[in-house]
Symmetry: C2
Subunit: 374 residues, 2 copies
């Protein structure tokens, strides 16, 4: 095999497919990137346990062939080669797997791996293909993913729930203490479909779909896999098995108290309070809503903080406690200057949502001893 | 005690004295900052095992007094208070050590520590006071400190050697494999004096002397301590005991081979070579000087790299091996576009130095098996 590349083309393709390369495994072929130039295009593939990325790299095929190369080493070499304009990076392999990477007067010789050991991506049987803007998908993932669980206790909580109903696309994440939902309207209607997508894949995906509102991603739903296609790249992931939680039953639009407040000011007050909860994440932040005003209070072994800010209050007064970090996570992922919070009683969750429910963040309250915090 | 501050004044003073606060100790008073407003000024002090920093903070003394406050907590609170223009931060303490920090509608109550437990800085008996620009001192420290040793095997190697001879000020660091020396001319002459300064202190000091060429530091030499004074701040450090190495005997200005080369190009080639030495820092980079050209070669379990670059050669051809990281460290701390390297034989060190010896970096070579690397 003999290929020539321009440095930046090869480097950016490696950075994309490198997201699906295992970093420490016992199966060392999973630490490799497959370079396949047998079918008229130079196709690079990374394939981890549960997801894989394939991307076409611009370049010239001087002699077809394929090889698997250790991803980290391959990337480091390309990154450090001289920055030149032309297709000056020459990658060539011999029968025995010896691989030479040359650029101007720098020559690397490393050992390649047998490309036949490499597991190729599953071919996805296409059921429904949905088109969405890269910007929307990226934002929706980033604005919900913090609400997934990390442990292995409940596998379904470690994924995000993708759901299409007509022309509505929503992403839901929950971890047992909170729910995050983002919804958007698609430009056309589709058959209803859904999938639980592992969060790890989405976290990597959100880094490589860097396009804007006009750039599209195709999401292809199938029984066992989800496939994302955009530009010269496809990402294929296994799905989390099982039926997702019945989230709609946990939501409610009734409320007894509604406050509208300045999001940034609220965030700054919560951030202050968190200083005193640093050694104990369970220390509740207590909110007191009364007379168009919100008081915040936290009491811990370290000390005590009191703060106060004006709000537009509708309905009853209320005293309620929350994990301050959960409040921050939700508020940091909203862009609006003013937000609405909906409460019922002190044992019921708060909902932070807009009119159209393009976002809806639910957070369960925390019990506290009202006497002790004076 | 009752004091009022402007947020930025207090925050920047805390960041300075905070450099001399222990982060995890059994003596928890060493994790504190002393606030002393008993003598007409607000003096903040941090004092670690072997060095301390004291700085005057602008502010109003409404009621004199002193208190010790946990440094990290104190900093975090001030950092997160509202950003206001006036002296709106109010710090007040009660007899029992209760401390209130208030800014607008945010109020923190934390426990202070007994200020009498706090060890004050030693008073330094002034022998010789040397004045140098903040910029020069900062650069000289940063450009040599990488050559100090980290272990406890040889305490003297963990410090930097400060030496004044007439109007010459030099800083020397060595770790058994290499020596780094930076020298500068002072604006006047002083009595000869010297000290071995712990590198940890210098590393923190270089972060807080942020001034330019016109801003001065006074270095006060005494038997047991060194004191740096600048603006409203003093830094006092214990010295490393003992006599420093006789470095002058290790230097030599004779050479058999001299090459002048482009520093950046050399650095890029070394950086490339280091990819293949990543699992084994001892893997030598082999330099071959011949016919006005420098070949670089490295061979490891991972693979092999060859590169070549033009040099201006004077004297004999040479084949010699080095730890690539040591070469990089020295070259990265030189600003000149072109540098001169002086060699004698393959078992003798290289010297990278300029004409005036404002810098002189010595690196010992590494043995290698010339056969094996073909």
């Amino acid at each position: 095999m003999k290929l020539s590349f321009q440095k930046n083309d090869l480097l950016s393709t490696l950075q994309v497919v490198g997201k699906a390369v295992a970093s420490k495994t016992t199966l060392s072929i999973m630490e490799c990137i497959l370079v396949d130039a047998t079918e008229g295009q130079i196709r690079l593939t990374g394939n981890k346990n549960d997801f894989g990325i394939e991307s076409i790299c611009p370049g010239d095929i001087l002699e077809p062939g394929k090889i698997a190369l250790e991803a980290r080493l391959f990337q480091e070499i390309i990154k450090r080669l001289p920055q030149t304009e032309g297709k000056n990076i020459l990658l060539s392999t011999e029968e025995n797997g010896n691989c030479t990477i040359q650029c101007e007067k720098s020559v690397f010789k490393i050992m390649g791996r047998n490309p036949d050991e490499f597991t190729s991506l599953p071919s996805v049987e296409k059921q429904e293909i949905v088109e969405i803007s890269q910007l929307s998908l990226r934002n929706m993932i980033n604005q919900t993913i913090f609400s997934t669980a990390s442990g292995e206790n409940n596998k379904k909580m470690t994924g995000e729930y993708f759901e299409i109903i007509d022309n509505q696309f929503s992403i839901t994440a929950l971890d047992g203490h909170r729910i995050a939902i983002r919804k958007t309207e698609l430009s056309e209607s589709y058959d209803n479909c859904s999938a639980i997508v592992p969060k790890e894949v989405l976290s990597e995906l959100s880094k490589i779909i860097s396009g804007g509102l006009e750039d599209k991603v195709e999401i292809c739903f199938s029984k066992q896999y989800l496939q994302f296609s955009f530009e010269d790249t496809i990402v294929v992931t296994q799905l989390v098995e099982g039926e997702y939680f019945h989230v709609r039953q946990m939501l409610s639009s009734d409320y007894e108290t509604k406050i509208r407040l300045n999001r940034k000011q609220f965030l700054e007050n919560i951030d202050r309070a968190r200083i005193l909860a640093r050694d104990n994440d369970k220390q509740p932040l207590i909110l007191k809503i009364e007379d168009q005003s919100l008081s915040l209070k936290i009491v811990s072994d370290i000390g005590r903080m009191d703060a106060e800010m004006p709000v537009q209050q509708e309905g009853k007064d209320l005293l309620i406690g929350f994990n301050p970090t959960y409040l921050m996570d939700a508020l940091q992922n909203i862009e609006e200057e003013e937000v609405d919070l909906y409460f019922t009683i002190s044992r019921s969750p708060v909902f932070i949502r807009d009119q159209e429910e393009s976002y809806n963040y639910m957070i369960l309250p925390v019990n506290f001893n009202a006497e002790a915090v004076g």
